[in-house]
């Protein structure tokens, strides 16, 4: 009984210790709050009819108002490191093509998606949160106005408009069997010197097959892709 009591005490002590971390904001800091939408978690098929809930891949970055890339703020691990476990050599160029083209780094194989050998090092690389999350941005040498952008993509998110069996030459081809399905969606907000609180706006989708870095404004054909994110709020402290 004494042993059990000691064990219980140790367990409770351990569980209550240092579980929480906090962001500390100072004046001028920006807070980006990504609120998950109803399609944030998507069924990814495994085997025997089993599936698991996968969160999307995404990147958040800064551009100037002329569209020049300045800095990535956050990028998810799989994108940053080619960290897919079963991509079978598929480089998933259709995952975040707008971010890749804005960043403009071409890797050894001629593609713009980071590789295992040369992962992203100039941003926070993190696991995709399964719930809403917050990013703190403290400007150092950042001239207002500037643009914050975010691009989100869910893999195998096929629908009638972006089907799994689309051929490579089709306009709606999105990477094939292990591809994206619906293309990545792009959100943006312009931050002015007097901005205190604003919200990112859905400005379009990326190239379905990842062949270019353009923003396509026609959202016809996107269904669940539009509800990956509920909202992205920006607050200046």
């Amino acid at each position: 009984m004494i042993v059990l009591n000691i064990l219980l005490f140790v367990c409770l002590s351990l569980m209550s210790s240092c579980e929480k971390e906090e962001l500390v904001f100072t004046s001028g800091d920006m807070v980006v709050e990504i609120e998950t939408g109803e399609s944030w978690l998507h069924d990814y098929p495994l085997f025997l009819g089993l599936s698991k809930k996968n969160p999307p891949q995404y990147a958040v970055w800064i551009e100037d108002t002329r569209g020049n890339y300045l800095s990535t703020v956050f990028v998810t691990y799989k994108i940053a490191t080619e960290g897919w476990q079963a991509n079978k050599g598929n480089r998933r160029i259709e995952a975040l093509p707008h971010w890749c083209h804005k960043r403009g780094i071409v890797y050894d194989d001629g593609l713009m998606m980071p590789t295992k050998e040369n992962p992203v090092t100039d941003a926070i690389t993190g696991a995709t949160p399964k719930v809403s999350s917050t990013i703190q941005i403290s400007p150092l040498d950042l001239k207002n106005p500037f643009v914050l952008k975010a691009e989100f993509n869910q893999s195998v998110d096929f629908n009638n408009f972006y089907p799994e069996n689309a051929k490579t030459e089709d306009d709606n081809y999105s990477g094939g069997e292990e591809g994206s399905g619906q293309p990545a969606v792009i959100y943006a907000v312009t931050v002015y010197p007097d901005t205190k609180e604003t919200e990112f706006i859905l400005i379009g989708h990326s190239s379905p097959d990842g062949s270019d870095g353009k923003v396509y404004e026609n959202m016809e054909g996107l269904t669940t892709g539009k509800s990956i994110v509920e909202s992205i709020r920006l607050t200046v402290k």
Binding site: V3, E21, L23, V73, G126, I137, L140
Partner: protein
């Protein structure tokens, strides 16, 4: 480093065989996310045992079996006969993810049901299944600085709550 730990643990456990009375057990436990080497010893009564374990896991961001896991369990064999044992156990430990992106040593606690089937006439070998629930969650802060911005965010490392391990044990 981890390999050395395993070797050290293994030989320490083998050294204990000098006092063999079949109330010690060395086991290898395999689950989807964890591989463990465990040493079990009878405590207080033949039905109660304590177990120390050390192993590797793959629950962090890189999904490689390079995380360190270690802890203690205490168990009670509720039903047993010559060939079978059914019992419960509870434990605590620590899970230390290893990756280039964050540090989040996470305390873990859990409880499980263990069914053991002894193999052969000597009763020295057994197979067992350990199924249970565990809890471990830890927030961590990530930061990045460039010439134009400092960036910070909070991530959460969480232990997979349900587990089922298949195990082989050698009693001595």
């Amino acid at each position: 480093m981890r390999k050395s730990l395993f070797v050290l643990a293994f030989f320490l456990l083998l050294a204990g065989e000098a006092n063999a009375q079949n109330n010690n057990q060395l086991s290898f436990q395999f689950s989807f996310n964890q591989v463990e080497l465990a040493y079990q010893h009878e405590l207080l009564s033949p039905k109660v045992w304590g177990e120390a374990f050390v192993g590797t896991g793959n629950l962090d961001i890189n999904r490689s079996f390079d995380d360190l896991v270690a802890g203690l369990r205490i168990g009670y064999n509720a039903f047993s006969n010559k060939k079978n044992t059914l019992g419960i156990n509870a434990g605590f430990g620590i899970y230390i993810p290893k990756n280039d992106y964050y540090k989040a040593a996470t305390p873990v606690t859990g409880a499980a049901i263990r069914y053991t089937r002894f193999i052969g006439k000597s009763g020295k070998h057994c197979m067992f299944v350990n199924m249970g629930y565990q809890y471990g969650k830890r927030e961590y802060k990530q930061e990045y600085s460039s010439e134009i911005v400092n960036v910070a965010t909070i991530g959460t490392f969480k232990i997979a709550p349900l587990y089922c391990s298949l195990c082989y044990g050698f009693r001595f």
